[in-house]
Symmetry: C2
Subunit: 145 residues, 2 copies
Amino acid sequence: MQDSPSTVDNPEWLNVIRWTDDGLVPAIAQDAATGEILMMAWMNRESLQRTAEEGQAVYWSRSRQKLWRKGERSGHQQLIREIRLDCDEDVLLLKVEQKGGIACHTGRKSCFYRKLDNGEWLSTDPVLRDPDAIYGTERGDKTGE
Amino acid sequence: MQDSPSTVDNPEWLNVIRWTDDGLVPAIAQDAATGEILMMAWMNRESLQRTAEEGQAVYWSRSRQKLWRKGERSGHQQLIREIRLDCDEDVLLLKVEQKGGIACHTGRKSCFYRKLDNGEWLSTDPVLRDPDAIYGTERGDKTGE
């Protein structure tokens, strides 16, 4: 049985998700090979559908209110290996192959590079590449990638 | 130098976090040993402070609007090994030791037990223990643990 055009535009698996009032769902990106948590960002319906179709992570930038194709400026795309959903249907887990080995706009592998240590947030992870080299000196924030 | 009482009640590391308008921050729980993502839940200021002080995960239940000490009914506490913060200061990562090896109220290890597969959410992970055996037959939802 072929999908009707309306089913293609509005697939049932998207309706399972319990979107926020703003139409968003948080998505955790995890390195499929090492298990390291790379980042968390938000998706709307269109960005998730594109993510599934294109096989690379497309988020929704809340600050810029537009689709944000991860790596569009940095080249650090996230190739999708698996998309998972939690028991409450309100959080996604993406298992990805992180191109360039850098997910964070600070030039680190993971955005979670600070650890609580004796009441202080201590940076523990190295900068692998200077953000100026990744984005140029006029780069915006992460969501501007 | 001793902390003044006000610093103890209102530690500076909590002020670094960019709380939502509702005063919350999402917290991802990851198995410290295996790297598996167990769940994502929300914390308010008090729950995070208690988490750090008690060394076990204390979330904020949005549905019940009260502190939710993970495992208080199931016994499946999460012992804190590390608390991490992301580059935008708006997401936490908890590396935990999951007591009982079960984080999900469905009796599975992880809440992310469904995988997108040919346009369907396919359950891939086994139930390790019957939820009725964990919570009794009159259990409420996960947040009622």
